[in-house]
């Protein structure tokens, strides 16, 4: 964890007297915010659009659900402006399950984030899947008690988001495509840039920070520790147990599955199999067994045939 202090406000009124000792409690600290991401490691976070899907996800073993109005595949198909989900929808999902509930706000739309925080959402995804609200600036995530996850395609982007207060990074991949190729590209880019930093001499780090467009103190932290200062998850295009295993073997610490579950032929068994595959990602006999008879995966898109303007991953700066 980075040795930076959160500037999020801590509650002054949360003083609890225990016997004679006055105990001061602090909420919204970086440790508490990154801590929840640590607890989600080795798990699967599933996109859901209603209470019924949320219950299917929880029963299949999801560690958290992402509450949405439309899964990315439908956002892509239907077009128009994609916004934060209706709070009514999110509340319905929060009431349906006991696991953490995440929700998405538009890039730079801090008011949507404030609303999600006020509702008690457990993690906010400042997401390229929704239509960006600001083409220059992301949300100042240090101002929130609720932790944020952000997408990244390379190390510089990951460290810029962490510099703004993101407590979890995920690959962007290409959401709603059912195609793993972009998530693989992004995970490999991040991992290989991290490895490169660890062998650079100290005097090269400032120039490297300039080239990456990333804060120098974070670049130095990564060079010394050989990993991101916050958990690093995979997202965007995961559709099968083998996809989950692939991303875990490439260094992801957990996986997000968006359209891949509820756009498949038989969601519940597929969800369960992806959960097992994420835990036992190096047990290939087990993977062979649990990949059997899951029905059709979501159809998917060939990204090399897509128009640049239709890509979601290019949103964010």
């Amino acid at each position: 964890m980075a040795s930076r202090k959160s500037t999020a406000k801590t509650t002054g009124n949360a003083k609890v007297a225990e016997k004679k000792t006055e105990l001061r409690t602090e909420t919204g600290t970086l440790r508490v915010k990154v801590g929840l991401a640590e607890m989600l490691k080795g798990g699967v976070i599933m996109d859901v659009t209603n209470a019924e899907q949320a219950r299917i996800a929880e029963d299949a073993g999801a560690v958290a659900v992402m509450a949405l109005e439309r899964v990315p595949a439908d956002i892509r198909k239907e077009g128009g402006v994609a916004r934060m989900a209706d709070p009514e929808k999110i509340m319905e999902i929060m009431d349906a399950v006991t696991i953490p509930v995440m929700a998405k706000c538009r890039i730079g739309h801090f008011a949507e984030a404030q609303i999600l925080e006020a509702m008690g959402v457990d993690y906010v995804d400042e997401s390229e899947v929704l239509t960006p609200a600001d083409e220059h600036f992301h949300v100042d995530k240090f101002q929130f008690k609720v932790p944020f996850v952000c997408g990244a395609r390379d190390l510089g982007e990951a460290l810029r988001r962490i510099g703004e207060g993101a407590c979890m990074i995920r690959t962007k991949g290409e959401a709603g495509s059912g195609n793993i190729v972009e998530a693989v590209r992004h995970m490999r880019a991040v991992q290989s840039a991290i490895k490169r930093l660890t062998v650079l001499p100290e005097e090269e780090l400032m120039t490297e920070a300039k080239a990456l467009g990333a804060p120098f103190d974070l670049v130095r932290w990564v060079a010394r520790n050989g990993k991101l200062p916050v958990p690093n998850f995979a997202a965007g295009g995961i559709a099968t147990p083998a996809d989950a295993s692939l991303m875990m073997q490439l260094g992801a610490e957990a996986v997000f599955v968006g359209s891949g579950i509820f756009k498949s032929e038989d969601p519940a068994p597929r969800a369960k199999a992806i959960v097992e595959a994420t835990t036992h990602y190096k047990n290939f006999k087990k993977l062979a067994q649990l990949s059997r008879g899951l029905g059709d995966a979501m159809a998917g898109l060939d990204i090399s045939k897509m128009d640049e303007k239709d890509l979601l991953q290019t949103r964010g700066w």
Binding site: R24, T29, V32, E38, G42, T98, I99, P100, G120, V146
Partner: protein, 197 residues
């Protein structure tokens, strides 16, 4: 004689942080995902994570039965943090449909009892017993469970706001907070001593 490794249940959750705490104490660590690995350890840490997820994975991996048998035979020390306490508990308040627990620790526990993530907090707590007398410990509570009641064989080693947060029952230790998140390895050290006995 070389000491046996300490096992960390690695089905899901923050098992890497427990590994680091144990390695900082100079202990070798074995990640446990299957019964064959459990057979090689005398102590097992059940980390933080999602109890509904790990409950299912405990059953499908065959570890649930193996852990219960070893614990009841007195040959396995157990240490549960946060989720670990829920999975060890005999009683879960408002038990979720299909929510599994190992039924070993004589307590009643309520999940997510302090609220949602925005209510997660940290505080300095004095810890009693196990050579940790009165030392303030920085306790980090994340969507933490609350221990509502304890049976006669359960000793309270620390409490917060009137509820036990660190407890011991014979060779089972439970913390509703996350000692693996902070650099203080005192509680892990005490558990290693329990496991080595």
């Amino acid at each position: 004689m070389p000491r046996k490794p300490i096992g960390v249940l690695a089905l899901q959750g923050d098992f890497e942080l427990h590994r680091k705490s144990l390695e900082d104490l100079g202990r070798s660590v074995l990640e446990v995902r299957a019964p064959a690995q459990l057979a090689r350890v005398r102590g097992l840490i059940i980390p933080g994570g999602e109890s509904t997820t790990v409950g299912k994975l405990l059953i499908s991996s065959g570890l649930a039965d193996a852990i219960c048998k070893r614990s009841e035979a007195g040959t396995l020390a157990l240490f549960g943090t946060c989720m670990g306490v829920i999975l060890l508990a005999k009683n879960i308040q408002n038990r979720h449909k299909g929510q599994y627990s190992l039924d070993l620790l004589d307590i009643t526990v309520e999940r997510n009892a302090y609220g949602r993530q925005v209510d997660s907090f940290e505080a300095d707590l004095p810890v009693r017993g196990m050579g940790l007398n009165g030392t303030p410990f920085r306790a980090v509570f994340i969507r933490a469970p609350k221990i509502l009641a304890t049976g006669p064989g359960v000793e309270t080693l620390a409490e917060f706001d009137g509820s036990p947060v660190l407890i011991r029952q014979n060779n089972i230790l439970g913390a509703t907070f996350h000692p693996e998140i902070t650099v203080d390895t005192g509680i892990h050290k005490a558990f290693c001593e329990m496991a080595d006995k």
